[in-house]
Assembly symmetry: C2
Homo-oligomer: 336 residues x 2
Amino acid sequence: PYIPRVIKILNNEGVHVLKKVEDAQTISKLAEKYKHAIIVGGSFIGIETAHALRKRGLDVTLIEYFPQVMPGKLNKQLAKIVEKTLEEEGIKLILGAGVKEISGGLGDKKVVAGNEEIRGDFVVMATGTRPNVELARKAGLEVGETGGIKVNERMQTSDPSIYAAGDNAEVLDMVTCKPTLSLLGNTAVKMGRVAGINAAGGDAKFRGVVNVWIVNLENLKFGGAGISYDHALKLGIDAVAVTIRVPDKPEIYPDAHKITVRLIAEKTTGRILGGQILGVDGVLCRLNVLATVLSREMTVHELAELELAYTPSLCEIVDPLHVAADALLKRLRKRS
Amino acid sequence: PYIPRVIKILNNEGVHVLKKVEDAQTISKLAEKYKHAIIVGGSFIGIETAHALRKRGLDVTLIEYFPQVMPGKLNKQLAKIVEKTLEEEGIKLILGAGVKEISGGLGDKKVVAGNEEIRGDFVVMATGTRPNVELARKAGLEVGETGGIKVNERMQTSDPSIYAAGDNAEVLDMVTCKPTLSLLGNTAVKMGRVAGINAAGGDAKFRGVVNVWIVNLENLKFGGAGISYDHALKLGIDAVAVTIRVPDKPEIYPDAHKITVRLIAEKTTGRILGGQILGVDGVLCRLNVLATVLSREMTVHELAELELAYTPSLCEIVDPLHVAADALLKRLRKRS
């Protein structure tokens, strides 16, 4: 966990992070005794913690520095869907408010965010993750521009007798073809597997990541893979994007729900760069197809034609992924 | 619908097929008035009809010629899972019994199957589908070995001014690279789209199919894609297969269920040829990944490494697809 230095923690009693199992156990115990949790940070960990504590009946206030939750991962329009769900759960959101100061003891915490002072019983800091490269630097290993340890596809550091894996090490982003910090559990496990095989004398390679992620709020699942539209623009890629919202199965079924799919592609090649999906159901399903599509460097045209299973009680013949791809194809044709 | 000639229908009152919306409406009305339905045929349509009628409270007897349901689509071991679910629903299965004769009027049907006579109120024939190529033959169009109308990838028949699409026409099987009859709704829609675009002066191509299919029995979803192990052997392909059964998510979650994955690959290349998946949940999700994997001609090794989304409340880091791919990799190494 990384806590920005601008946040002055005057009293760290009742201020917790989520790193180890023990941290979760501590927070879980606090949830039995106390009534009001303040969560700092509106990304994966902050949102999941807020949801879990709210489910246990606590008052929950979630504070995010950016004017939306999931900054960098979802655009403002998509973030609104998540924010609405959190608010419907009864979580109080304070957006666009940087935390300056945390004071007071357990059961009487004061958090100064923007111009407000929020009072609660305990605080969970979910302000992000940074590689801890102290040991690597001491060992003289190269650290990349991302701040992570440089490794090759065999997970070897600049010292070939030392391997690195997990949040500390860089990986290749298969979409941008640049090193990135994945910071995802599934990536860490895969990297560990490769590093372990090689360190034990075997030969394994790690291709890279498309960084597929998902969050489950029960009434809403949301996730993404590849890069966002803004990220593409920052890299100088001429990108186009569409957002569609259609039923996840024929609407005659009572459990049909709207699903939102945003798809981003490169204009010149039609190659899919990324996407985000939000809905009550069927999000994991489409995300995994999208992740596969990204890892095989497929185009919008290929996704529009992709064969997917069909049975009316579960899904439409023209899947939301197809609808999004068709919409993006039209957009691509218009612009060319 | 195709009804084998060996089945003598002495009285076709109360004998129905499922082709048009009106057929379903007729059967639905019979279900209001009568108590016992006899279904002939234990594949997609027969199983789905049996399930739907049983759900409406009818006594249902399902008769299948082969000694298992889903012949050709599931092996015996996997078919047992489906049979168990159908029996738990209260459907009576008569397997390995060819229907010889259907007699009696509506409300008093007699079906002779094997050495048994089954009595019921009405009969639904779900004995398969064959292309109806009568019109095509009259028009002098070429018909392929599969019995379907020959078309090129633009859905043009041997007469370039005539297009064909749907169950009547052949398509390319992307796994075997041979013409096949897909007989699936989603394939028909895609073929129609291509034929329509071309007939209207456009230019569209149909790549072919991996034939992904799924059946939803609510308490069990099951489906497949690509070809079966037996089919591979028949084609002279040196194939290997594994079947694994693991939880679809961490077992600490009360809604975790076992999911069964069978995976078939070519020994020499490691290319995945097909698979079948059965479970309470998450079947569509994995089938669509498998369909994508098949349509991109991926290997077992590539599937084992495939990046999929992870969040513990929905899925494991090592997905059942990964478990199956890892097991198949081990099998491939042993044999080489």
